[in-house]
């Protein structure tokens, strides 16, 4: 399939918004929005010719008034391709408004601010592109969108390759030392310890930090921070470098060194994307310049041409009286708030034929800001699984509570029985003790008579001793403090016990034995 080969050749990391994408089935499972950019060729039977053509390369006859991606370029050379990129920020007062906006699909919020309006450009491999423009014209937003930090609202933005961004505070941990930050950032970029150890000398040398490298970064000046950030970034060897005004912080020697390094990168075919307010810097490094103006791309072209135009405009603008300048800016800001991507980008129908009528309506009504969220569905199967799990949870928890209460009740009954029995035991034992005392006292009184009379005393003791057997059986079942009283009467018991088990003919003793064998010794209590 030529189609498939074509697709494999484009390893774009894509952050297309919904508009340029095939609608995905409601039943599809969630997939990362970063990996899903490649439009898979649909099964031919399922689609009409018209639908297929939107996603096919250019050799198919384009339908009038329909946007067809220019996929016939040399794919490998294009590093960043932005097509009609717009970025809308919602000007909400509080966080709760933000939350409401997230869940409120009906109401359309009017407080928008379009930071990027219909920006299209293409950056080839090995190019260095500078973005110039006034403050607040969307330069940093564009960089952030390219680096993937913020999602775009509409249009499509394909970035091909690993991106590394550096800004003045390039994500350094301020309470770690410079050296630790080097390790941390290199590790985060996926380097191993060995690789970092190989490079760390070079990084420290390039950063010119010297002894300060072991000081916490919070003690660094902004120049030192950006120097460190830049030194780390060039060693992580990204395909696309994104530099946000970080070059203007260092001193001129460091700047010269950086430029040399950037030249080296350019020769190696790396793409550099940077923002600078220094025209001389731009003229020195950049091949091409993007002139941003209140969210719109005014011109994209060779450095000399665009930069001279931009400088001319700046001079003119600076000469104008203050009031008219302010009026101009206010006007521009108002336009930025009222921008409608449907009106501006004529050749990109906001309502793409790829979308179902319902989705078209929705895209038209609500914009596409929320469509990124919709891309990952919680599929029916997932709902079923979660529902089943919740049901199982409820059932088992109820069941286990019920079982626990039942066992508890049973245990309570058991306990009550044991207590009752213990009381009975106590009573009987005290009886027995009394009798034993009586026997002993009688024995004391009978020391004088002969030993032959002794059996006469044994006979009455037999019924009196039997309770001690029942007490020992209750001990076997429940290890509760019945032991101490049993120990007290230990001295006299063992011989008597034996005599009892020997005298099996005794009906009373028989009963006791069976009671000890059966688990429900509560029967014993009945009599």
């Amino acid at each position: 399939m030529s189609d498939e080969q074509e697709y494999e050749q484009r390893p774009f990391r894509s952050r297309n918004s919904r508009m340029h994408e095939k609608p995905r089935g409601r039943f599809s499972f969630g997939r990362s929005s970063h990996n899903k950019g490649h439009k898979k060729p649909k099964a031919v039977e399922n689609v009409t010719i018209d639908q297929r053509e939107t996603s096919r390369p250019v050799d198919v006859k384009p339908i009038d008034n329909q946007y067809t991606p220019k996929f016939n370029m040399e794919h490998s050379a294009v590093k960043i391709r932005a097509e009609h990129v717009s970025k809308r920020f919602e000007m909400l007062q509080t966080r709760s408004d933000k939350l409401k906006a997230l869940f409120n699909f009906r109401q359309r919020n009017q407080n928008y601010f379009w930071s990027l309006r219909d920006v299209s450009f293409e950056v080839l491999e090995g190019q260095t592109v500078a973005i110039v423009g006034l403050n607040g014209s969307g330069k940093s937003t564009l960089l952030k969108a390219v680096s993937g930090f913020i999602p775009i609202t509409s249009g499509s933005l394909d970035v091909n390759g690993a991106v590394s961004e550096i800004s003045v505070n390039a994500g350094l941990r301020t309470n770690l030392s410079g050296r630790d930050n080097i390790y941390l950032r290199m590790y985060m970029s996926g380097f191993t310890k060995k690789q970092v150890n190989e490079r760390i000398g070079e990084i420290i040398e390039f950063s010119e930090l010297g002894k300060f490298i072991d000081q916490p970064v919070k003690s660094y000046s902004s120049g030192m921070r950006s120097k460190l950030g830049f030194s780390i970034m060039i060693q992580t060897d990204p395909d696309i470098m994104i530099i946000d005004e970080a070059l203007s912080v260092g001193d001129s020697t460091f700047a010269a060194k950086s430029f040399a390094k950037i030249q080296e990168f350019k020769e190696r075919g790396k793409t550099i994307f940077f923002v600078s307010h220094s025209d001389s810097q731009v003229a020195q490094i950049a091949d091409k310049v993007i002139w941003m103006h209140y969210g719109q791309l005014i011109e994209f072209g060779d450095t000399k041409v665009v930069l001279s135009k931009y400088q001319r405009w700046q001079r003119n603008f600076a000469q104008k009286p203050k009031a008219s300048r302010r009026r101009y800016m206010q006007n521009a800001k108002r336009k930025q708030a009222q921008f409608d991507p449907a009106v501006v980008s004529d050749d990109t129908p906001l309502v793409n034929l790829d979308l179902s009528p319902k989705e078209q309506r929705r895209a038209f009504l609500f914009g596409t800001a929320r469509s990124n969220l919709d891309q990952i569905h919680f599929g029916v199967v997932n709902w079923a699984i979660v529902g089943g799990l919740i049901g199982l949870f409820m059932a088992v928890s109820l069941y286990s509570i019920q079982v626990a209460s039942q066992t508890r009740n049973a245990a309570a009954i058991e306990n009550a029985k044991i207590l009752k029995k213990r009381e009975l035991d106590k009573q009987k034992r005290s009886d027995q003790d009394r009798k034993k005392d009586a026997v002993e006292s009688s024995m004391d009184s009978m020391i004088a008579p002969s030993v032959d009379d002794a059996p006469a005393y044994v006979a009455p003791t037999v019924p009196a001793v039997t309770p001690s057997v029942s007490s020992s059986s209750s001990q076997a079942v429940v290890p509760t403090p019945v032991t101490p009283p049993a120990n007290d009467s230990n001295n006299s018991q063992p011989p008597v016990d034996n005599s009892n088990s020997d005298s099996g003919t005794n009906s009373d003793g028989d009963n006791m034995d069976s009671g000890a064998a059966s688990p429900t010794d509560g029967n014993n209590l009945e009599h």
């Binding site: 969630g30 952030k144 680096s147 191993t192 916490p216 919740i390 949870f393 286990s400 209460s405």
Partner: protein, 271 residues
């Protein structure tokens, strides 16, 4: 389910990276102390000592537990080790994505391993406390059963549960930042409700039945039962609790990974 698998694969793939970062992550959180990372171990031990003095010496109510004071101390240490591992992972992990977001966006760093990093950095106190508990028990000549399979099972269960909670809450905290103080309070409460400090059996029986549904109870008592093997109430209801634990964990993991992937590209808009 697909997002769960995707997230788990991401975890395994980037495990090496996470392991390398842990050291610096820990260091950055304890950089200002003279004792540095030693506090990670001292702190829970101090906590246990305070509770031990308070309850054992002061209230003197659980001295009849098997093993007397040493037994109770080791019982508490293991419970505290397990619970602290879970609660710290959830607490730190729920803020981890927010914290790493600024750096992560500037390089190709998978955000879903941020909770894994906080999980790994909390493993050391768990090991130390459990070993200490076992050591004390051995010193007191009390029985210790070391069943490695059961230990591995409860360890895996604890890791999955803690990771799932951290992943779910890290997404929710970005969308609704007000949750983060609530998480701290809930985790504090959870310590008392999962029988870390005093046995759940000593509470009212109805409360105990309900508390047994709590997944942290399952983990805390699972570890204790494996090591010391005298948790009768736990053993009776083990099968039901196992089903409950894995149901909850699976739900948390599924919803957490789904929300994470769904909101990943939008995170920066909410920070």
């Amino acid at each position: 389910m697909n997002s769960l698998i995707q997230v788990l694969i991401e975890q395994i793939k980037n495990h090496q990276i996470a392991q390398r970062i842990v050291k610096y992550d820990r260091r950055s959180s304890s950089q200002d102390y003279y004792l540095g990372q030693v506090w990670e171990i001292i702190n829970p031990i101090l906590q246990v000592s305070v509770y031990f003095l308070m309850i054992f010496m002061g209230l003197r109510s659980y001295s009849d537990r098997a093993g007397g004071s040493w037994g109770f101390l080791s019982w508490m240490l293991v419970g505290m080790g397990v619970y602290r591992f879970i609660s710290q992972t959830i607490n730190v992990g729920s803020k981890a994505v927010k914290r790493q977001l600024g750096i992560a966006a500037k390089m190709n760093f998978p955000l879903s391993i941020a909770p894994q990093i906080s999980l790994l950095s909390n493993l050391l106190p768990l090991y130390v406390l459990v070993l200490l508990g076992v050591g004390i028990r051995m010193y007191a000549h009390l029985s210790v059963h070391i069943n490695l399979i059961a230990l591995a099972y409860y360890f895996a269960a604890a890791v999955l549960f803690a990771y799932g909670m951290a992943l779910l809450l890290s997404t929710l905290v970005i969308i609704v930042p007000d949750l983060s103080p609530l998480i701290g309070t809930a985790l504090n409460m959870g310590m008392w409700l999962s029988g870390v400090i005093f046995p759940v059996e000593s509470m009212s029986p109805v409360l105990m039945d309900i508390l047994q549904l709590n997944p942290t109870y399952y983990l805390v008592y699972g570890f204790r039962n494996t090591l010391f093997g005298n948790e009768a109430a736990f053993n009776i209801n083990w099968d039901n609790m196992t089903i409950l634990f894995w149901t909850i964990t699976l739900i948390i993991l599924m919803v957490g990974s789904h929300l994470h992937l769904k909101f990943k590209s939008q995170f920066s808009e909410y920070v």
